[in-house]
Subunit: 221 residues, 2 copies
DNA sequence: TCTCACCTTCAGGCAGACTTAAGGTTCAAG
DNA sequence: CTTGAACCTTAAGTCTGCCTGAAGGTGAGA
Protein backbone atom coordinates (compact mmCIF):
# COMPACT_ATOMS: atom_id res chain seq x y z
CA UNK A 1 0.00 0.00 0.00
CA UNK A 2 2.27 2.73 -1.27
CA UNK A 3 1.71 6.44 -1.02
CA UNK A 4 0.80 8.52 -4.05
CA UNK A 5 2.84 11.63 -4.63
CA UNK A 6 2.12 14.44 -7.05
CA UNK A 7 5.27 16.10 -8.35
CA UNK A 8 5.02 19.46 -10.08
CA UNK A 9 8.38 20.39 -11.54
CA UNK A 10 9.27 21.75 -14.96
CA UNK A 11 12.97 20.91 -14.95
CA UNK A 12 13.20 17.57 -16.73
CA UNK A 13 16.56 16.56 -15.32
CA UNK A 14 15.65 17.28 -11.76
CA UNK A 15 12.21 15.78 -12.22
CA UNK A 16 13.65 12.60 -13.62
CA UNK A 17 15.95 12.30 -10.67
CA UNK A 18 13.24 12.88 -8.11
CA UNK A 19 10.82 10.48 -9.74
CA UNK A 20 13.45 7.77 -9.99
CA UNK A 21 14.45 8.25 -6.41
CA UNK A 22 10.95 8.19 -5.03
CA UNK A 23 9.93 5.19 -7.11
CA UNK A 24 13.04 3.43 -5.92
CA UNK A 25 11.55 3.65 -2.46
CA UNK A 26 8.18 2.37 -3.50
CA UNK A 27 6.19 5.58 -3.87
CA UNK A 28 3.75 6.07 -6.71
CA UNK A 29 4.60 9.29 -8.49
CA UNK A 30 2.54 11.42 -10.86
CA UNK A 31 4.61 14.10 -12.58
CA UNK A 32 3.24 17.30 -14.08
CA UNK A 33 5.62 19.63 -15.88
CA UNK A 34 3.80 22.94 -16.07
CA UNK A 35 1.55 25.19 -14.04
CA UNK A 36 -1.59 24.88 -16.13
CA UNK A 37 -1.66 21.12 -15.84
CA UNK A 38 -1.17 21.52 -12.11
CA UNK A 39 -4.25 23.73 -11.86
CA UNK A 40 -6.34 20.98 -13.49
CA UNK A 41 -5.09 18.32 -11.11
CA UNK A 42 -6.90 17.35 -7.95
CA UNK A 43 -4.64 17.29 -4.90
CA UNK A 44 -7.17 15.20 -2.99
CA UNK A 45 -6.24 12.24 -5.19
CA UNK A 46 -2.72 12.23 -3.76
CA UNK A 47 -1.16 11.78 -0.37
CA UNK A 48 1.42 14.50 -0.77
CA UNK A 49 2.34 17.23 -3.26
CA UNK A 50 5.86 18.34 -4.13
CA UNK A 51 5.57 21.75 -5.72
CA UNK A 52 8.22 23.78 -7.53
CA UNK A 53 7.61 27.53 -7.45
CA UNK A 54 9.17 28.64 -10.73
CA UNK A 55 6.87 27.15 -13.33
CA UNK A 56 5.68 27.98 -16.83
CA UNK A 57 1.91 28.60 -17.01
CA UNK A 58 1.26 29.54 -13.40
CA UNK A 59 3.31 30.46 -10.38
CA UNK A 60 3.68 27.86 -7.69
CA UNK A 61 2.32 30.14 -4.98
CA UNK A 62 -0.93 30.58 -6.91
CA UNK A 63 -1.24 26.85 -7.35
CA UNK A 64 -0.67 26.38 -3.64
CA UNK A 65 -3.37 28.93 -2.82
CA UNK A 66 -5.91 27.21 -5.03
CA UNK A 67 -5.05 23.76 -3.71
CA UNK A 68 -5.53 24.97 -0.18
CA UNK A 69 -9.09 26.09 -0.93
CA UNK A 70 -10.24 22.54 -1.51
CA UNK A 71 -7.79 20.10 0.04
CA UNK A 72 -5.60 19.52 3.06
CA UNK A 73 -3.07 17.38 1.28
CA UNK A 74 0.41 18.17 2.62
CA UNK A 75 2.39 20.37 0.22
CA UNK A 76 6.16 20.41 0.16
CA UNK A 77 7.48 23.48 -1.60
CA UNK A 78 10.60 23.31 -3.75
CA UNK A 79 12.41 26.44 -4.73
CA UNK A 80 15.72 27.70 -5.98
CA UNK A 81 15.26 30.89 -4.04
CA UNK A 82 16.41 31.04 -0.49
CA UNK A 83 14.67 34.32 0.21
CA UNK A 84 12.92 34.76 3.48
CA UNK A 85 10.05 36.56 1.82
CA UNK A 86 9.17 33.74 -0.51
CA UNK A 87 9.48 31.20 2.26
CA UNK A 88 7.26 33.16 4.59
CA UNK A 89 4.61 33.60 1.92
CA UNK A 90 4.66 29.93 1.03
CA UNK A 91 4.27 28.88 4.63
CA UNK A 92 1.58 31.53 5.18
CA UNK A 93 -0.36 30.07 2.28
CA UNK A 94 -0.32 26.69 3.97
CA UNK A 95 2.80 24.97 2.71
CA UNK A 96 3.88 22.23 5.08
CA UNK A 97 7.57 22.29 4.32
CA UNK A 98 10.08 24.22 2.27
CA UNK A 99 13.18 22.84 0.58
CA UNK A 100 15.69 25.01 -1.24
CA UNK A 101 17.72 23.84 -4.19
CA UNK A 102 20.23 22.47 -4.40
CA UNK A 103 19.30 19.67 -2.04
CA UNK A 104 20.46 16.10 -1.83
CA UNK A 105 17.98 13.34 -2.61
CA UNK A 106 18.16 11.91 0.88
CA UNK A 107 16.94 15.16 2.35
CA UNK A 108 13.87 15.33 0.14
CA UNK A 109 13.11 11.72 0.88
CA UNK A 110 13.46 12.31 4.60
CA UNK A 111 11.06 15.23 4.48
CA UNK A 112 8.55 13.33 2.41
CA UNK A 113 8.64 10.52 4.94
CA UNK A 114 8.32 12.95 7.82
CA UNK A 115 5.21 14.43 6.25
CA UNK A 116 3.59 11.12 5.52
CA UNK A 117 4.49 9.81 8.95
CA UNK A 118 4.23 6.28 7.77
CA UNK A 119 6.81 3.71 8.75
CA UNK A 120 6.19 1.76 5.51
CA UNK A 121 7.33 -1.56 6.89
CA UNK A 122 7.50 -3.35 3.60
CA UNK A 123 10.14 -5.83 2.57
CA UNK A 124 11.47 -3.56 -0.12
CA UNK A 125 12.38 -1.09 2.58
CA UNK A 126 14.52 -3.51 4.55
CA UNK A 127 17.86 -4.89 3.49
CA UNK A 128 19.15 -7.99 5.25
CA UNK A 129 22.63 -9.22 4.57
CA UNK A 130 24.67 -11.40 6.87
CA UNK A 131 24.16 -10.25 10.43
CA UNK A 132 23.06 -6.81 9.26
CA UNK A 133 19.49 -5.64 9.02
CA UNK A 134 19.02 -2.18 7.56
CA UNK A 135 15.54 -0.67 7.65
CA UNK A 136 15.57 2.20 5.19
CA UNK A 137 12.13 3.43 6.17
CA UNK A 138 12.65 3.46 9.90
CA UNK A 139 16.32 4.38 9.48
CA UNK A 140 17.27 1.66 11.94
CA UNK A 141 20.20 -0.74 11.75
CA UNK A 142 20.58 -3.98 13.64
CA UNK A 143 23.68 -6.11 13.91
CA UNK A 144 22.89 -9.69 14.95
CA UNK A 145 19.66 -8.44 16.47
CA UNK A 146 21.32 -5.69 18.47
CA UNK A 147 20.40 -2.12 17.51
CA UNK A 148 23.25 0.05 16.23
CA UNK A 149 23.05 3.77 16.79
CA UNK A 150 24.08 5.63 13.66
CA UNK A 151 23.88 9.32 12.89
CA UNK A 152 22.14 10.60 9.78
CA UNK A 153 25.27 10.64 7.65
CA UNK A 154 26.53 7.32 8.94
CA UNK A 155 23.20 5.69 8.16
CA UNK A 156 22.98 7.20 4.69
CA UNK A 157 26.49 6.05 3.84
CA UNK A 158 25.80 2.51 4.96
CA UNK A 159 22.47 2.52 3.16
CA UNK A 160 24.10 3.74 -0.03
CA UNK A 161 26.46 0.77 0.01
CA UNK A 162 23.79 -1.68 1.09
CA UNK A 163 21.47 -0.74 -1.75
CA UNK A 164 24.06 -2.04 -4.19
CA UNK A 165 25.76 -4.80 -2.29
CA UNK A 166 29.04 -5.79 -3.88
CA UNK A 167 29.27 -2.72 -6.07
CA UNK A 168 32.00 -0.16 -5.66
CA UNK A 169 30.48 3.23 -4.95
CA UNK A 170 32.71 6.17 -5.81
CA UNK A 171 33.74 8.66 -3.19
CA UNK A 172 32.32 11.42 -5.34
CA UNK A 173 28.86 9.92 -5.57
CA UNK A 174 28.81 9.29 -1.83
CA UNK A 175 29.81 12.87 -1.16
CA UNK A 176 27.19 14.16 -3.56
CA UNK A 177 24.51 11.98 -2.12
CA UNK A 178 25.12 12.28 1.59
CA UNK A 179 27.26 15.25 2.54
CA UNK A 180 26.30 18.89 2.67
CA UNK A 181 26.36 20.18 -0.91
CA UNK A 182 27.22 23.69 0.27
CA UNK A 183 30.52 22.58 1.71
CA UNK A 184 33.57 21.40 -0.09
CA UNK A 185 33.58 18.11 1.72
CA UNK A 186 36.34 16.72 -0.44
CA UNK A 187 38.76 16.39 2.41
CA UNK A 188 38.94 13.35 4.59
CA UNK A 189 35.46 13.83 5.93
CA UNK A 190 34.14 10.73 4.25
CA UNK A 191 36.91 8.62 5.78
CA UNK A 192 36.08 9.81 9.25
CA UNK A 193 32.44 8.88 8.88
CA UNK A 194 33.25 5.45 7.50
CA UNK A 195 35.75 4.96 10.26
CA UNK A 196 32.97 5.45 12.78
CA UNK A 197 30.52 3.23 10.91
CA UNK A 198 33.08 0.43 10.87
CA UNK A 199 33.73 0.79 14.55
CA UNK A 200 30.05 0.85 15.45
CA UNK A 201 29.38 -2.23 13.33
CA UNK A 202 32.02 -4.24 15.16
CA UNK A 203 33.03 -7.38 13.34
CA UNK A 204 30.60 -6.67 10.54
CA UNK A 205 32.46 -3.41 9.96
CA UNK A 206 35.12 -5.37 8.15
CA UNK A 207 32.60 -5.92 5.37
CA UNK A 208 32.93 -2.31 4.36
CA UNK A 209 35.83 -2.60 1.97
CA UNK A 210 37.97 0.21 0.63
CA UNK A 211 38.30 0.29 -3.14
CA UNK A 212 41.60 2.04 -3.55
CA UNK A 213 41.41 5.15 -5.69
CA UNK A 214 37.67 4.62 -6.27
CA UNK A 215 35.55 4.49 -3.15
CA UNK A 216 33.96 1.84 -0.95
CA UNK A 217 31.89 -1.31 -1.28
CA UNK A 218 29.89 -3.59 0.99
CA UNK A 219 31.21 -7.11 0.58
CA UNK A 220 28.45 -9.62 -0.18
CA UNK A 221 27.71 -12.39 2.28
CA UNK B 1 22.41 5.57 -32.95
CA UNK B 2 25.24 7.30 -31.20
CA UNK B 3 24.99 10.24 -28.87
CA UNK B 4 26.13 13.68 -29.97
CA UNK B 5 28.39 15.52 -27.58
CA UNK B 6 29.38 19.16 -27.71
CA UNK B 7 32.83 19.79 -26.25
CA UNK B 8 33.83 23.34 -25.35
CA UNK B 9 37.49 23.40 -24.37
CA UNK B 10 40.29 25.74 -25.40
CA UNK B 11 43.24 23.58 -24.42
CA UNK B 12 44.21 21.80 -27.60
CA UNK B 13 46.04 18.90 -26.02
CA UNK B 14 43.30 18.12 -23.56
CA UNK B 15 40.63 18.64 -26.19
CA UNK B 16 42.35 16.29 -28.57
CA UNK B 17 42.54 13.63 -25.89
CA UNK B 18 38.90 13.96 -24.92
CA UNK B 19 37.69 13.92 -28.51
CA UNK B 20 39.77 10.88 -29.37
CA UNK B 21 38.61 9.11 -26.30
CA UNK B 22 34.94 9.81 -26.79
CA UNK B 23 35.06 8.91 -30.47
CA UNK B 24 36.78 5.68 -29.53
CA UNK B 25 33.55 4.79 -27.76
CA UNK B 26 31.31 5.71 -30.63
CA UNK B 27 30.18 9.15 -29.57
CA UNK B 28 29.87 11.93 -32.12
CA UNK B 29 31.85 14.90 -30.91
CA UNK B 30 31.70 18.55 -31.96
CA UNK B 31 34.57 20.58 -30.56
CA UNK B 32 34.52 24.36 -30.07
CA UNK B 33 37.65 26.06 -28.83
CA UNK B 34 36.49 29.46 -27.62
CA UNK B 35 33.65 31.09 -25.77
CA UNK B 36 32.26 33.16 -28.63
CA UNK B 37 31.78 30.13 -30.84
CA UNK B 38 30.09 28.43 -27.92
CA UNK B 39 27.59 31.26 -27.59
CA UNK B 40 26.63 30.78 -31.24
CA UNK B 41 26.09 27.06 -30.85
CA UNK B 42 22.76 25.49 -30.11
CA UNK B 43 22.86 23.04 -27.22
CA UNK B 44 19.55 21.56 -28.30
CA UNK B 45 21.33 19.95 -31.24
CA UNK B 46 23.38 17.80 -28.88
CA UNK B 47 22.68 15.18 -26.29
CA UNK B 48 25.24 16.41 -23.78
CA UNK B 49 27.59 19.36 -23.35
CA UNK B 50 31.05 19.21 -21.79
CA UNK B 51 31.94 22.76 -20.81
CA UNK B 52 35.26 24.12 -19.63
CA UNK B 53 34.97 27.21 -17.45
CA UNK B 54 38.18 29.08 -18.28
CA UNK B 55 37.71 30.12 -21.89
CA UNK B 56 38.78 32.95 -24.16
CA UNK B 57 35.86 35.04 -25.41
CA UNK B 58 33.31 34.26 -22.71
CA UNK B 59 33.30 32.66 -19.27
CA UNK B 60 31.87 29.19 -18.98
CA UNK B 61 29.35 30.17 -16.33
CA UNK B 62 27.86 32.78 -18.65
CA UNK B 63 27.62 30.23 -21.43
CA UNK B 64 25.94 27.80 -19.05
CA UNK B 65 23.45 30.45 -18.01
CA UNK B 66 22.52 31.25 -21.60
CA UNK B 67 22.24 27.60 -22.57
CA UNK B 68 19.90 26.98 -19.66
CA UNK B 69 17.53 29.66 -20.92
CA UNK B 70 16.70 27.68 -24.01
CA UNK B 71 17.70 24.07 -23.53
CA UNK B 72 17.67 21.25 -21.02
CA UNK B 73 20.62 19.43 -22.47
CA UNK B 74 22.71 18.00 -19.65
CA UNK B 75 25.84 20.03 -19.04
CA UNK B 76 28.96 18.57 -17.51
CA UNK B 77 31.25 21.30 -16.21
CA UNK B 78 35.01 20.94 -16.45
CA UNK B 79 37.24 23.12 -14.37
CA UNK B 80 40.69 23.39 -12.93
CA UNK B 81 39.33 25.21 -9.94
CA UNK B 82 38.24 23.26 -6.96
CA UNK B 83 36.63 26.19 -5.25
CA UNK B 84 33.37 25.78 -3.42
CA UNK B 85 32.00 29.00 -4.74
CA UNK B 86 32.50 28.09 -8.37
CA UNK B 87 31.04 24.65 -7.91
CA UNK B 88 27.99 25.92 -6.09
CA UNK B 89 27.38 28.57 -8.70
CA UNK B 90 27.72 26.11 -11.54
CA UNK B 91 25.28 23.70 -9.95
CA UNK B 92 22.92 26.54 -9.09
CA UNK B 93 22.94 27.59 -12.74
CA UNK B 94 21.82 24.11 -13.68
CA UNK B 95 25.01 22.19 -14.33
CA UNK B 96 24.40 18.47 -14.03
CA UNK B 97 27.86 17.42 -12.99
CA UNK B 98 31.20 18.92 -12.09
CA UNK B 99 34.60 17.43 -12.83
CA UNK B 100 37.84 19.01 -11.65
CA UNK B 101 41.11 18.74 -13.53
CA UNK B 102 43.16 16.77 -13.61
CA UNK B 103 40.83 13.84 -14.11
CA UNK B 104 41.19 10.34 -15.44
CA UNK B 105 39.77 9.78 -18.91
CA UNK B 106 37.82 6.86 -17.50
CA UNK B 107 36.19 9.12 -14.98
CA UNK B 108 34.97 11.55 -17.60
CA UNK B 109 33.66 8.68 -19.69
CA UNK B 110 31.86 7.19 -16.72
CA UNK B 111 30.16 10.48 -15.97
CA UNK B 112 29.17 11.04 -19.56
CA UNK B 113 27.64 7.59 -19.63
CA UNK B 114 25.90 8.18 -16.32
CA UNK B 115 24.34 11.38 -17.64
CA UNK B 116 23.18 9.92 -20.92
CA UNK B 117 21.47 6.96 -19.38
CA UNK B 118 20.05 8.58 -16.35
CA UNK B 119 16.69 6.80 -16.70
CA UNK B 120 18.48 3.49 -16.16
CA UNK B 121 19.36 4.38 -12.61
CA UNK B 122 21.28 1.41 -11.39
CA UNK B 123 21.87 -0.39 -14.64
CA UNK B 124 25.45 -1.51 -14.80
CA UNK B 125 27.01 -3.05 -17.82
CA UNK B 126 28.28 -6.57 -17.41
CA UNK B 127 30.57 -8.37 -19.84
CA UNK B 128 30.65 -12.15 -19.68
CA UNK B 129 33.14 -14.09 -21.74
CA UNK B 130 34.33 -17.58 -21.00
CA UNK B 131 34.89 -17.94 -17.29
CA UNK B 132 35.23 -14.19 -16.89
CA UNK B 133 32.51 -11.92 -15.64
CA UNK B 134 33.34 -8.20 -15.64
CA UNK B 135 30.88 -5.81 -14.03
CA UNK B 136 31.86 -2.35 -15.23
CA UNK B 137 29.52 -0.52 -12.90
CA UNK B 138 30.38 -2.39 -9.75
CA UNK B 139 34.03 -2.68 -10.77
CA UNK B 140 33.97 -6.35 -9.87
CA UNK B 141 35.63 -9.20 -11.75
CA UNK B 142 34.86 -12.88 -11.27
CA UNK B 143 36.75 -15.80 -12.68
CA UNK B 144 34.66 -18.98 -12.70
CA UNK B 145 32.53 -17.48 -9.95
CA UNK B 146 35.48 -16.55 -7.75
CA UNK B 147 36.05 -12.84 -7.16
CA UNK B 148 39.34 -11.47 -8.45
CA UNK B 149 40.88 -8.53 -6.61
CA UNK B 150 42.17 -5.99 -9.09
CA UNK B 151 43.51 -2.51 -8.47
CA UNK B 152 42.03 0.48 -10.23
CA UNK B 153 44.49 0.42 -13.11
CA UNK B 154 44.37 -3.34 -13.48
CA UNK B 155 40.60 -3.28 -13.67
CA UNK B 156 40.54 -0.44 -16.19
CA UNK B 157 43.04 -2.21 -18.42
CA UNK B 158 41.09 -5.45 -18.39
CA UNK B 159 37.85 -3.57 -18.97
CA UNK B 160 39.37 -1.73 -21.92
CA UNK B 161 40.19 -5.04 -23.60
CA UNK B 162 36.91 -6.66 -22.64
CA UNK B 163 34.86 -3.87 -24.15
CA UNK B 164 36.24 -4.78 -27.55
CA UNK B 165 36.83 -8.49 -27.28
CA UNK B 166 39.07 -9.80 -30.02
CA UNK B 167 40.27 -6.37 -31.09
CA UNK B 168 43.82 -5.27 -30.61
CA UNK B 169 44.08 -2.18 -28.43
CA UNK B 170 47.20 -0.10 -28.94
CA UNK B 171 49.59 0.53 -26.11
CA UNK B 172 49.23 4.25 -26.65
CA UNK B 173 45.47 4.26 -26.27
CA UNK B 174 45.70 2.13 -23.16
CA UNK B 175 48.25 4.48 -21.66
CA UNK B 176 46.06 7.47 -22.52
CA UNK B 177 42.96 5.89 -21.08
CA UNK B 178 44.24 4.41 -17.89
CA UNK B 179 47.56 5.79 -16.75
CA UNK B 180 48.22 9.09 -15.02
CA UNK B 181 48.01 11.83 -17.65
CA UNK B 182 50.43 14.02 -15.70
CA UNK B 183 53.24 11.56 -16.12
CA UNK B 184 54.95 10.83 -19.36
CA UNK B 185 56.10 7.50 -18.10
CA UNK B 186 55.53 5.39 -21.16
CA UNK B 187 58.23 2.96 -20.26
CA UNK B 188 57.45 -0.55 -19.24
CA UNK B 189 54.77 0.43 -16.77
CA UNK B 190 51.98 -0.99 -18.87
CA UNK B 191 53.73 -4.34 -19.08
CA UNK B 192 54.02 -4.53 -15.33
CA UNK B 193 50.32 -3.99 -14.86
CA UNK B 194 49.35 -6.54 -17.48
CA UNK B 195 51.77 -8.96 -15.91
CA UNK B 196 49.87 -8.70 -12.67
CA UNK B 197 46.48 -8.96 -14.33
CA UNK B 198 47.54 -12.15 -16.06
CA UNK B 199 48.81 -13.61 -12.83
CA UNK B 200 45.68 -12.72 -10.91
CA UNK B 201 43.44 -14.19 -13.60
CA UNK B 202 45.18 -17.55 -13.39
CA UNK B 203 44.46 -19.78 -16.36
CA UNK B 204 42.21 -17.15 -17.91
CA UNK B 205 45.20 -14.82 -17.91
CA UNK B 206 46.45 -16.58 -20.99
CA UNK B 207 43.57 -15.03 -22.89
CA UNK B 208 45.27 -11.65 -22.70
CA UNK B 209 47.36 -11.86 -25.82
CA UNK B 210 50.24 -9.65 -26.78
CA UNK B 211 49.98 -8.14 -30.26
CA UNK B 212 53.56 -7.65 -31.15
CA UNK B 213 54.47 -4.06 -31.93
CA UNK B 214 50.87 -2.92 -31.40
CA UNK B 215 49.42 -3.65 -27.99
CA UNK B 216 47.13 -6.23 -26.42
CA UNK B 217 43.85 -7.98 -27.03
CA UNK B 218 41.48 -10.28 -25.21
CA UNK B 219 41.09 -13.54 -27.12
CA UNK B 220 37.44 -14.38 -27.78
CA UNK B 221 35.95 -17.53 -26.30
C1' DT C 1 73.02 -15.37 -33.95
C1' DC C 2 71.62 -10.76 -33.20
C1' DT C 3 68.27 -7.38 -32.09
C1' DC C 4 64.30 -5.55 -30.42
C1' DA C 5 60.05 -5.86 -27.94
C1' DC C 6 58.15 -7.71 -24.16
C1' DC C 7 58.03 -10.23 -19.40
C1' DT C 8 58.93 -10.41 -14.58
C1' DT C 9 60.88 -9.22 -10.19
C1' DC C 10 62.09 -5.85 -6.86
C1' DA C 11 62.44 -1.81 -4.14
C1' DG C 12 61.56 3.12 -3.40
C1' DG C 13 58.46 6.82 -3.19
C1' DC C 14 54.23 8.71 -2.54
C1' DA C 15 49.30 9.38 -2.89
C1' DG C 16 45.37 7.74 -0.70
C1' DA C 17 43.35 5.99 3.41
C1' DC C 18 42.91 5.35 8.61
C1' DT C 19 42.60 7.18 13.17
C1' DT C 20 42.56 10.41 16.85
C1' DA C 21 41.72 14.79 18.61
C1' DA C 22 40.06 19.31 18.60
C1' DG C 23 37.15 23.09 16.94
C1' DG C 24 32.72 24.57 15.22
C1' DT C 25 27.87 24.18 14.30
C1' DT C 26 23.16 23.03 15.34
C1' DC C 27 19.44 22.26 18.18
C1' DA C 28 16.86 21.70 22.26
C1' DA C 29 16.37 22.33 27.09
C1' DG C 30 16.80 25.30 31.06
C1' DC D 1 19.88 34.25 26.32
C1' DT D 2 22.81 30.72 28.06
C1' DT D 3 24.12 26.11 28.49
C1' DG D 4 25.12 21.59 27.08
C1' DA D 5 25.02 17.63 24.19
C1' DA D 6 25.25 15.53 19.79
C1' DC D 7 27.14 15.74 15.58
C1' DC D 8 29.78 17.31 11.51
C1' DT D 9 34.04 18.93 9.77
C1' DT D 10 38.87 19.94 9.69
C1' DA D 11 43.61 19.13 10.88
C1' DA D 12 47.56 16.34 11.86
C1' DG D 13 50.19 12.17 12.18
C1' DT D 14 50.75 7.61 10.76
C1' DC D 15 50.25 3.79 7.93
C1' DT D 16 49.18 1.02 3.98
C1' DG D 17 49.50 -0.51 -0.46
C1' DC D 18 49.68 1.01 -5.30
C1' DC D 19 52.39 2.88 -9.07
C1' DT D 20 56.50 3.22 -11.40
C1' DG D 21 61.24 2.86 -13.01
C1' DA D 22 65.32 0.02 -13.23
C1' DA D 23 67.47 -4.28 -14.40
C1' DG D 24 68.05 -8.76 -15.97
C1' DG D 25 65.74 -12.44 -18.41
C1' DT D 26 62.87 -14.45 -22.30
C1' DG D 27 61.09 -15.12 -26.71
C1' DA D 28 60.02 -13.65 -31.47
C1' DG D 29 61.51 -12.07 -35.87
C1' DA D 30 65.32 -11.20 -39.28
Amino acid sequence: MSSKILLIEDDKNLGDQIVAHLKCYGFEVAWLQDGLAALDADPKEHDLVILDLMLPGAHGLDILKIYRETAETPVLVLSAKNETDTKVRALALGADDYVTKPFWPEELLARVRARLRRPLLHASEVIETGALRIDLGARVVENAGQPVELTRIEFDLLAALAQRIGSAITRQSLVDRVLDPDREGTGRTLDVHFSRVRKKLGSEGARIATVWGVGYRLLPL
